[in-house]
Amino acid sequence: MQWLRKIAALFRRGKLDAEMAEEMRAHIELQTDRNIAAGMDPDEARYAALRQFGNVGSIQEQAREVRRLRWLEDFFQDFRHGARLLLKNPGFTAAAVAVLALGIGANTAVFNLVHTLLLAPATYARPSEIFRIQSQDVRNPNKTRDFSYPAYRDIRKGNAIFSDALASALTIVGVGEKGDTRRAAAAVVSANYFSVLGVAPVQGRGFRPEEEKPGAASPVVIVSHLFWRKHGGDPAMLGSTIAINSRPFTVIGIMPEGFTGTTSLFFTELWLPLGVFDLVANRGGAGAGNLLADPARADLEILGRLKPGMTVAAAAPALRALTTSLTESYPIQQKDQVLVMAPPSRFASLSNDRAVAWVGALLMGMAAIVLLVACLNLTNMLLARGTARRKEIALRLALGGGRLRIVRQLLTEGLLLALLGGGGGLLLARWSSQLLMASLGRMIPIDLVLATEPQPALYAAAAGFCLFGTLVFALGPALKLSRGDVVTHLKEHAGEDVVRRRWNFLPRHPLVSLQIALSLALLTSAALFMRSALAAETGAAETGLRAKNLFLIELDAALGGHDQVQAQELYRRLGERLAALPGVESAGVATDVPLSGLDFEKSVQRAGEPKSASSAKWTGVGEDYFKAAGLPLLRGRAFTVVEATQSGSPPVVIVNEELAKHLWPEGDALGRYLQLGEDGTAADPVAGDRNHVAAAYEVVGIVPATRHSLFESNPDMGFYLPYARGFQSHVFFHVKLAALLPGGETATADQLRGLVGEVDSTLPVLSLKSCAEMLDDNIQIWIVRFGAVLFSAFGGLALSIAVVGVYGVVAYSVARRSREIGIRMALGARPDAVQKMILGEGAVMLGGGVGLGLVLALGIGKVVSSLLYRVGALDPLAFVAAPGLLAVATFLACWLPARRATKVDPMVVLRAG
C-alpha cells in the first residue's frame, strides 16, 4: 500500500513541498526564540539558528527522497520533456507517427484477422473437451463424412467416450416475407445441442427431446443475440413468429451475446430442431420423403464432450468398439469405414484448420516485416536527430547526469512516439478491417463475424507492437548516443558527421540498406501476387461457357417454401416465359455454375463393372441448358423436354470429355451405359438415390469439360443429369440474349428480375448477374485478388517508408556535411563531382540493399509459391519490375538532396564554421 500512497503523494507534490518548507521555517523560528531566550540579540539568534539547522535545500531534498517514487517521477518528467521536444519538431513528429501508425496498423489489422479466425476462444464452454467424430474411408483416408440421424442416435447411446454428443447440420435459410427475404446461416440441431456446448438461452427455453424426432415438424426457432438486435431488439420477439422459408416459426429462445455456434468466421443466426430438417435443410431431394430418418444420409456433424478424465489416447479402444457396432447396424453405409475423432473445425467446411493457420502465419510474418521496416526507419530518424543533440547529451553527462538516466529519457521519448503511432495504428486497423468486411460481405450473403470494433485482445496486441517498436527503434540510438566521449562532443561542431569508419567500402548507413532489402522482399512478393491475380482473371474467363450476353439468375424455390414438385413446375413455367422474352435466345436451368465453389460429387462406373468406379462432379440441367450456356455438344444430343421434366423417363446422362476418356479410353462413350454408385462423400446424393443404384444410364451426349474450381490444373471429370433426376431447389437460370436490351446490362437485369416477380412473387431472387460479373465476384478470385491487394499494400507501405528513410538520411547527411562539401568545393571540387559523390554513396546503400533483398525475395517466393496462380516463384517479370521500381524510387530520393549539395556556397559555410 505504501507505493499507492507514494503515487498519491506524487500528485500532491506541490502541497507537500510547501508544508515541508513551512515546517522547517517553524523549526528555525523556534530555535531563534530559544536562542533569544538564552540571551542573544534577535539578528544573531536567527543567524545562529540558521547555522545550526544547516542547508535547508539539501535537507528538503533528503526528506523528499523518503517520500517519493523516484523512477515514476523521473518517468513523468521524461514524458513531459519528450512531449515538449516532439511539439517543438512537428515535422519530425508527424513523419515518425505516420510511419509507426502504418506499421502498427498493418500488424493490428492482420492480428485482428488471425485472432478471429484462429485464436479467439470458441464461444461455448470448455472447448478443449469438445471433439468431432467422423467416418473415414479406409481405402482413402482423405475422404471423411458425417452421419445420418439413426447413426447419431446409436453413437450417442453406445459410446464410452463422451458424456453426451450433439448433432448439427448447417444450412442456409430464407428469412422474411416474399421480396424481403434475406439469407441467413442456420444450424439444425439435436435437442441436447445447448446443454452439450454448455450455453443456455438468456431468454426462453432450449429445444425439447420430442422436437428433434423425425417427422416432428414443430416450427420453433432459437435466435442469436445479433439476430434479435438486428430485428429491433424487442423483448416481445420471444413468442412471436418469423417467416423461415416462407413458413411461420415461433421464437422460443434468444441466445446470449457473442454465442456464434460452433463455427468462428460467420455467425449462426438461427437454431432449429432436427425435427424440421426436411423442411429447411435444402438438401438435394427435398420433398423426396423423410430425409432425417434415412440411414443413407450423412448430413449431421457429431460433436461430443469428453467424459471427465477421458483423453484422446484412452478413447482409441472405445472408438474401435463403436466402429464395430456401427458397422453391424449399418452394413451398407459403414462398409470400409472407420470412426475418427478430432478437434472440431473452426470453419464450416474445412476438415482441418492447418491451411488457414499457415496463411495466417504468413500474413503475420509479412506484417511483421512492415513493422520492422518502420522501426528501422525510425531508428535512423532518431539517430540522425540524436546526432544533433550530441552536444546537449554530452553536456548532461559532463554535469554528472547518469548514463542510465539519459538512456531512460531517450527511451521514454521513443515510447511516446510509439504510443501516438499505436493510437493511429488502431484507427487504421479498424478502418481496414471494416473495408475487409465490406469486401467479403459482397461475396458471401450471410453474416460474417469479424469484429471491427477494437476488442481487448486488439488493444493488447497494439500495445505489444508499441512496446516492441520502442525497444527496436529507440534502444539502439539511446545506447549509442549516450556512449559519451564527452570532451570530443563538446569541442566539435554540434551535429557534424565525425564518425570514424573503419570499413569504408560498406554502406555508410547499414540500417537503410536493411530497410531497402526488406522492402524489396515485400515488393517482389507483391509483384508475384499481382501477376497471380492477373492470371486468375484470365483463368476465370476460361470456364468453358460462352459468357457473352449470358445472364445468370440464382433462385431457390425452397426458400419460398416450395417442395420439389412445385419447384419443378415453377422453374418450367419460368423457363418458358424467359425464352419467350424478346431478345432472349434460350434459357436453361442448371444446379451449378463454373467456379461456384459448389461441388456435387458422385461415384460413377461402367455398367456392371464396379472396379471402374471413380468420383465425378455432376450437375442437374434442363433441356435448353447447353444451348444457353454455349456448351457445344461434341457428340450426341441434349436432353429432351420429357427427360428434363419427368423423373420417370428412361435414365439418360450426358458426360464431359474427361469422364468419357476415363471410362472408355479405347472407344466411343456414346450409347454406352454407366451406373451411379453409393455416394461416399459429403456432397449431396441425388434424389431417390438408392432406388437407382442398379439403374443403368445411357450416355446420350458428350460435351467439353468445364472448370469447377479456379485452382484445378486439369478440368474435372463431370456429367450432367436431366433436371428431374438431378434436382436441387437451388438453381441458376442461364439466360442467353442475342444482344443486350436497350439500356445496357442494368436494364436487362431489371427486366429479367421483373419477369421472375411476375411468374411468382414469393420467389426470392438470390442474385441476378451477367456471367462476367458472376465470375468477377467469385470467392476464389476474391482470395487471389485479396492476396494481391494485401501484398501490394504491404509492399507499397514498405517501399514508401524506405524511400522516406533514404531521403531523410541522405538529406540529413548533406546538411551535416555542408562544411566538408564547402571545403571540397573551395579546394576545387566541381558541383557535379560533389553530386556524384553523394549519389555514389546512395548507390552503395542501394546495391547492398538490393543484393540482400533479392536473396530474401527468393526465400519468400519459395514459401508463397503454393498460393500463387499460374506464376512461378522465380517469375522473371516480378524479379525485374520490383527491383526496378525500388531503384528508381531510391535514386530519386538520393538525387534531390544530392542536387542540394551542389548549391552549397563555400564562403557561407566556411564563415559559419
Binding site: A26, L30, G54, I59
Partner: protein
C-alpha cells in the same frame, strides 16, 4: 557533542524519536531538543537526519502529524505516537536492550 550522525547505529534514531514522543506530542524542534536533554547533551540530532526520519516513520504509520500551535504561539507540526508506533517502540526498546547486553558481554563488561 560526542556523537555525529555517522556514529549513530542504523535505526537508533528511529528509536530515539519514538521514545521522545512516548509521553506527549511534539514538533520536530522539540524532538531534537528532547533527545539532547535526555542524553544530557551527549547526543545532538542533525536536522538533515531528523526530518527524513520523521517522514519515514510517518510513512510506516508509527507516528502521525498535525498542525498545531507551540507554547510560544508559533504554528508548528506536531507528531504523535500511533498505537502501532507504541508497539514498535516496545519492540525496539527490547531489541536495543538485548543488543547492548550482547555488546557489553563481547566487550567483557558484563
Amino acid at each position: 557533542m560526542a556523537t555525529n550522525k555517522a556514529d549513530l547505529l542504523q535505526g537508533t534514531l528511529d528509536l530515539l524519536i519514538l521514545k521522545s514522543l512516548q509521553n506527549e506530542p511534539m514538533h520536530g524542534f522539540g524532538i531534537a531538543v528532547r533527545i539532547q536533554q535526555m542524553s544530557q547533551d551527549m547526543l545532538t540530532v542533525e536536522q538533515g537526519s531528523l526530518y527524513p526520519a520523521l517522514y519515514r516513520l510517518e510513512e510506516q504509520g508509527w507516528i502521525k502529524a498535525e498542525w498545531g500551535v507551540s507554547d510560544n504561539n508559533r504554528k508548528a507540526k506536531f507528531y504523535t505516537l500511533t498505537p502501532t508506533g507504541r508497539k514498535q517502540l516496545q519492540a525496539e526498546e527490547q531489541s536495543w536492550a538485548n543488543l547492548s547486553i550482547a555488546i557489553n558481554r563481547v566487550l567483557g563488561n558484563a
